[in-house]
């Protein structure tokens, strides 16, 4: 059986995007995306865990039976997240001070269990890790875009505090898009997250429809205007 790596990449980043298509992981998505930087941090940490759990779960897939697979997966995921949490806390302490809040939250991210169940438990190690990476990057991309929109409208800045997350070299990312901006509070509060999320989902549907229209050879029927 050959694995269609191109398809994994396409599905992870766009076609089967965790947030926009599967509508999974909405809790962390809406909670942390008040700034683009937070979204990036959460996305990258989740990607790391997705790759690690994809690797571990595809390794044990041969011995795990159908009946106990869920507790086993949960156990493995929780262990991976806790280990990642401790290692980041010990050796990348500055990063931990920014991400610390988000890391334990990853356990509750249903995308991780979702990918373990739907993909890693049925596939070989390499495709599972690639699937984790691509799903994670797709998740990160949505979080960053959502964070950027909310941050610009809500507080008029972009990538605020990026240097705390990525180091001083990335200080150039921090922009004040609209100086002396009062900001729309609602975009920073949870309802703003839902609003932007709704628009993003609608935009993805529109783009998909447009792509489908272009790809299909059928010439669309001309709609006849009926006078009202």
């Amino acid at each position: 059986m050959t694995t269609d790596y191109k398809n994994i990449i396409k599905e992870g980043l766009w076609g089967n995007n965790t947030v926009l298509s599967q509508q999974l992981a909405l809790c962390p998505t809406l909670a942390v995306t008040t700034t683009a930087t937070n979204g990036l941090g959460m996305g990258l940490a989740t990607t790391l865990v997705l790759v690690a759990t994809g690797w571990i779960i595809s390794m044990v897939r041969g011995v795990v039976t159908q009946e106990v697979r869920i507790p086993v997966f949960i156990l493995l995921i929780a262990t991976t997240v806790t280990v990642a949490d401790m290692i980041i806390n010990a050796f990348l302490h500055d990063l931990y001070k920014v991400l610390g809040l988000f890391i334990p939250l990853i356990v509750t991210n249903c995308v991780i269990l979702g990918r373990a169940e739907a993909y890693a438990s049925r596939q070989k190690v390499l495709p599972s890790m690639l699937d984790g990476l691509m799903m994670g990057l797709g998740f990160t991309a949505v979080l960053v875009v959502l964070g950027m929109i909310r941050e610009i409208i809500g507080s008029g800045t972009l990538f605020a505090n990026a240097s705390l997350l990525l180091g001083q070299t990335f200080a150039f990312l921090e922009l004040t898009v609209i100086p002396n901006y009062k900001g729309y509070l609602i975009m920073i509060l949870p309802p703003g997250g839902f609003l932007v999320f709704g628009f993003l989902m609608a935009a993805k549907r529109l783009i998909d429809q447009e792509l489908e229209r272009r790809n299909s050879l059928v010439i669309p029927l001309k709609v006849i205007d009926v006078p009202a």
Binding site: T65, P71, L76, T79, I87, F91
Partner: protein, 229 residues
């Protein structure tokens, strides 16, 4: 799960399921224990360094010559309304034998949860510095109490219970001296209250704090956290 492969019959037994779950649980705990042992010291060091850094922000380094983390006085405060008592560790800054300043944490409840503040006070009862250690206020609004977001918190420097007097320890909207933020009043109001309570706390225990003798040299750590060695 194993498409096209016959599942061996022993996998249907209860014992296999139990053993599998137990075995994986055992492996997971082993991994956790090993990671904990490997990272424990580094995490404790990082935490101590953080604590030291936050203490240095509220008491200028030039003022003292001792190790604040080793010179701690525990004061028991009893809350009259809830009848609970808490131990507040006071970090004492000394020049030689003499206490010159003290730092301690205070907690209050803001718009969406606990706000933890560390404050440094000199022996005259004047604030040397205040910093917010942790909070869960609205990002972009209430988080202006953080020093890296806004210099609002520096406005407490040099204040005491006499400056301003009791009426001034409020936000401007309520006739006091301290700015509120546009869109957030509750958060700065809470911080002003926390700091004022902190000053009153110091005033109540001033005598005990100033006369606290030097601690006996201890070989173990006294971070107030579980032993890490």
């Amino acid at each position: 799960m194993n498409k096209g492969i016959a599942v061996p019959s022993y996998r249907q037994r209860l014992g296999y399921h139990a053993g599998l779950l137990g075995g994986i649980g055992l492996l997971a705990s082993m991994v956790l224990v090993i990671t904990d042992i490997e990272t424990r010291v580094a995490i404790a060091q990082a935490k101590a360094a953080d604590q030291k850094a936050s203490l240095e922000q509220v008491i200028p380094k030039e003022l003292y010559d001792n190790d604040l983390l080793q010179d701690i006085l525990l004061i028991t405060e009893t809350d009259q309304t809830t009848a609970t008592s808490t131990n507040v560790p006071i970090y004492l800054a000394r020049q030689g034998q003499q206490v010159v300043a003290a730092a301690y944490q205070q907690v209050g409840y803001g718009y969406s949860g606990e706000i933890r503040v560390i404050m440094g006070i000199n022996i005259q009862g004047e604030i040397l510095g205040v910093r917010v250690l942790s909070h869960t206020e609205t990002p972009g609004l209430g988080d202006k109490i953080e020093e890296r977001k806004s210099d609002w918190i520096l406005g407490f420097n040099g204040k005491s219970l006499q400056n301003p007097l009791a009426d001034g320890w409020r936000v401007k909207k309520e006739g006091g001296e301290f700015d509120q933020f546009s869109g957030a009043t509750i958060t700065p109001r809470t911080v002003v209250q926390i700091v004022r309570h902190g000053l009153e706390f110091f005033a109540r225990h001033q005598q005990q704090i100033l006369t606290q003798p030097l601690p006996l040299p201890k070989p173990t750590d006294s971070l107030g956290s579980p032993s890490t060695s």
